[in-house]
């Protein structure tokens, strides 16, 4: 059970933060289909940073700090990359789907080009720390009793950071003037403009926040669940996050529920064979004899089923995807 919760967190956290990333840009009016590319680019930035730290031996005695610096760099890389989306979608009034698709292609191309030239291989595996400790398993481990373990020990530090960010970002979007203005730009930019809000600046802010969160999510994904390997893919996690965001109705609470549901089902799928739910030594799911693929399908099918019943309530930001043109008021 503890194992299941722990695994669920690992599956949920990257989805949660990347779905929040998508939400921020879409609520400001920019469709960010480039999340997959942003994740790849951010993950690469973080991985290179960690690589440099470990190769030079700096901060070798505090792996948590290396991890945090890696996260900061990945967020910066993601924001930088998303600036390309902002430039195209806001300044040049590009079609946002096209720009996003282009960035989704650009990120793996750039990352693989560089990795192959400098590391002579198709992926960058982050090296382990001198003590043999792999950086992908930097856990906080302070032996708490029983059930609390899952929440307070044996968790990645990134989990806490993401949960903190989640709360902070929700407050930012709903309880501050900045958030209100940003949402206005996604719903009715003309009205926002006439109230004196700089729509373009708000949309840039949304896109850059989105990029930073996406890059961070990419780095967390590769360090916690993809074995510390940066390469040309994040296994479609960016697109999944977009799906979770739509599923969560572009709202933080919905996104949290969606990513938790999805993360839980996904992790049941990946660990069903060793899952002993009530602790009686009987591996119930394994004894059913169904193949792994069945359990893999469940989260996706569940999302479809839920959508079938909640359909019609979905409400996308009204102005998303439409370049803002002052002359259109």
């Amino acid at each position: 059970m503890i194992f299941l919760i722990q695994q669920t967190f690992i599956c949920t956290i990257p989805l949660l933060i990347v779905a929040m990333a998508g939400m921020f840009s879409e609520r400001s009016g920019i469709i960010n289909i480039a999340l997959d590319g942003i994740m790849i680019f951010g993950a690469f930035g973080g991985a290179v940073t960690v690589y440099a730290f470990i190769k030079t031996g700096a901060l070798a005695d505090s792996p948590q700090l290396i991890y945090i610096v890696g996260m900061l760099v990945s967020a910066a890389a993601g924001a930088l990359f998303s600036a390309l989306l902002g430039l195209a979608a806001i300044r040049l009034r590009s079609d946002q789907t096209i720009a996003g698709t282009a960035l989704n292609m650009l990120a793996p191309a750039v990352v693989l080009l560089i990795i192959k030239i400098f590391f002579m291989q198709d992926k960058l595996v982050m090296p382990t720390l001198p003590g043999g400790l792999s950086l992908t398993f930097v856990l906080i481990d302070n032996d708490l009793p029983g059930f609390l373990q899952a929440f307070f020990s044996r968790a990645y530090i990134s989990t806490y950071i993401v949960l903190g960010l989640y709360i902070a970002l929700s407050v930012l979007l709903y309880k501050t003037r900045f958030g209100l203005r940003m949402r206005a730009c996604g719903e009715h930019p003309q009205a926002a403009d006439s109230a004196g809000i700089n729509v373009h600046r708000m949309r840039y802010a949304g896109t850059l926040i989105s990029g930073a969160l996406g890059g961070l999510g990419g780095f967390i994904y590769i360090t916690t669940s993809a074995g510390g390997t940066a390469g040309g893919t994040v296994a479609g996690m960016g697109f999944l996050a977009i799906a979770i965001m739509i599923f969560g109705n572009w709202k933080p609470v919905g996104i949290a529920l969606g990513s938790f549901l999805f993360g839980l089902l996904r992790c049941v799928g990946s660990s069903y064979a060793s899952l002993d739910i009530n602790g009686d030594g009987v591996f119930m799911l394994k004894d059913l004899g169904l193949p792994m693929y069945f359990y893999n399908i469940i989260p996706y099918a569940a999302v479809l089923v839920v959508l079938m019943f909640t359909a019609g309530k979905s409400r996308a930001p009204k102005a998303e995807g439409i370049p803002y043109d002052k002359g259109m008021r």
């Binding site: 079609d95 789907t97 096209i98 004196g196």
Partner: protein, 473 residues
């Protein structure tokens, strides 16, 4: 004029279509056809150039290649182990595509492979394009593609071939695969049409469901090639005597896998072009894509059109998969549950580059494979690698995104090329500069200027004054 067109495009976007690219393509395409009645191809082509669709695509390609070259140059300059001259050689090789090796036999082989690889890409490109025309983003092509592979491989390998009826088996396999794709495309179509669920989310879910279904279906089945201790691939369909006829194309391109699939794909593009541009159904499809409410008001069944376009889209993507796998010489790595096929996703750039025009898809898919072969050669002959071609394609698509921005300057550019000197010379010069990649600052047009003014006078009074200026234009 350009202001009007832009407004129409934005209205179309507000009406439910999130893909203005389709709308933009429509505007110029239908205008050209309406004007000439389809008689004078040459005149229509020049109209297109004047309208800017073709020329802006070419400008995008030029910009993408230039920027890709700049990246090569930067890498060469900042990497001590790579001489700077390597960047120039690299550009030559990339642009040479399959011809870069310079050896006859090799060129013929690579060209044949290029055409063969372009076949499924063309089909997935058509699949995405037909959905774009209806204002839908079919990101589910990878899943539909996988279902097509599953259907055709299973039928092709279990069909009782005793020599004479092998072609029947081939047709049956093609149809089964295509049908599965139609069914798989129907799922997002149903969710969108009857439940109003965003097609992107359903497509992504069906992709991964398909990836697992296919692995599940092939696991421990009789279709796997278990000889020699490997189990990762299915049997080639040729082992059951079923393979796409070559029609002598293999003699033209010796050694390559080319077959008549490429001809089928081109034919499909032509048929789709006719359906979209010359039939009532095609008109309804485009009308529903441009503005769903208006289409409904005009008495069209929006639901029916959404369902049909997604079914056609799924069928096309799956058919591309069938044409690829039924070649007979292809082994399919059946454990697909962790990774979706790239060919499905690459249909999106193909369609975008072609501005969703079926005929354009023929050329854009060939172009993508051409550059791809150039990248492959690049890895062989220089210190760079094959990802440079992906980089260039990505940059081209990036530029294609603001093609309408570039297109705003097209009348001036066209005027420049026609040798219209005189008082417009100054404006045209600015436009050419803008085409060369300095779009943000070089353009003489109003909107960026207005925008800049708006940003400068950010305070409360600024925007409203600026708005009056905008409406006065």
């Amino acid at each position: 004029m350009s202001e009007n067109r832009k407004n129409a495009q934005i209205h179309a976007g507000a009406g439910g279509s999130q893909i203005p690219a389709a709308g933009g393509g429509d505007g110029t395409g239908s205008g050209g056809i309406g004007g000439t009645g389809g008689k004078n191809v040459f005149r229509r082509l020049t109209e297109r150039i004047r309208g800017g669709t073709l020329l802006s695509s070419l400008v995008c390609i030029a910009c993408g290649i230039l920027l890709g070259f700049a990246v090569l140059l930067l890498l060469a300059i900042f990497t001590p182990s790579i001489p700077v001259g390597e960047a120039f050689r690299g550009l030559g090789i990339i642009l040479g595509g399959p011809f870069a090796s310079g050896r006859g036999g090799d060129i013929a082989f690579t060209l044949g492979e290029m055409l063969f690889e372009a076949t499924p890409l063309m089909m997935t490109g058509l699949a995405v394009a037909v959905a774009f025309k209806n204002g839908l983003f079919n990101i589910g092509a990878p899943g539909q593609y996988l279902m097509g592979i599953m259907g055709s491989v299973m039928v092709a390998l279990s069909f009782p071939t005793d020599g004479s009826n092998a072609f029947l088996g081939w047709i049956l396999a093609l149809l089964t695969g295509t049908l599965l794709g139609v069914l798989w495309g129907m799922i997002p179509g149903f969710f969108k049409a009857f439940l109003g669920v965003n097609e992107v989310i359903v497509c992504i879910m069906t992709n991964w469901i398909a990836a697992n279904v296919v692995s599940w279906a092939f696991k421990d089945s009789v279709f796997l090639n278990v000889g020699g201790g490997k189990t990762a691939y299915t049997l080639k369909t040729a082992e059951n005597g079923i393979a796409t006829p070559k029609l002598g194309l293999d003699r033209l391109f010796p050694g390559s896998n080319i077959d008549m699939g490429i001809l089928i794909a081109v034919a499909a593009a032509v048929v789709l072009y006719i359906v979209i541009n010359k039939t009532t159904f095609g008109y309804e499809l485009k009308a529903c894509g441009a503005n769903r409410e208006a289409a409904r008001y005009a008495g069209m069944s929006v639901r029916r059109n959404i369902m049909l376009s997604m079914m056609i889209s799924g069928g096309l993507a799956a058919m591309g998969a069938c044409l690829y796998i039924l070649n007979g010489n292809i082994e399919f790595a059946w454990e697909t549950y962790a990774r979706l096929p790239d060919t499905g996703f690459n249909g999106i750039p193909v369609a975008l580059l072609a501005t969703s025009d079926p005929i354009g898809v023929i050329f854009s898919s060939l172009f993508l494979r051409y550059i791809g072969k150039g990248g492959y050669n690049l890895a062989g002959y220089t210190m760079f690698n094959e990802y440079v071609s992906d980089l260039i394609v990505a940059l081209i698509i990036y530029f294609a995104g603001f093609a309408s921005f570039i297109r705003m300057f097209m009348p001036q550019v066209a005027g420049f090329f026609a040798g219209l000197a005189g008082r417009r010379k100054k404006a045209a010069g600015g436009a050419v500069q803008a085409g060369g990649g300095t779009v943000p600052d070089g353009g003489p047009s109003d909107p960026p200027g207005g925008q800049k003014a708006g940003q400068a006078g950010e305070a409360d009074g600024g925007p409203s004054a600026d708005g009056e200026g905008g409406s006065a234009k």
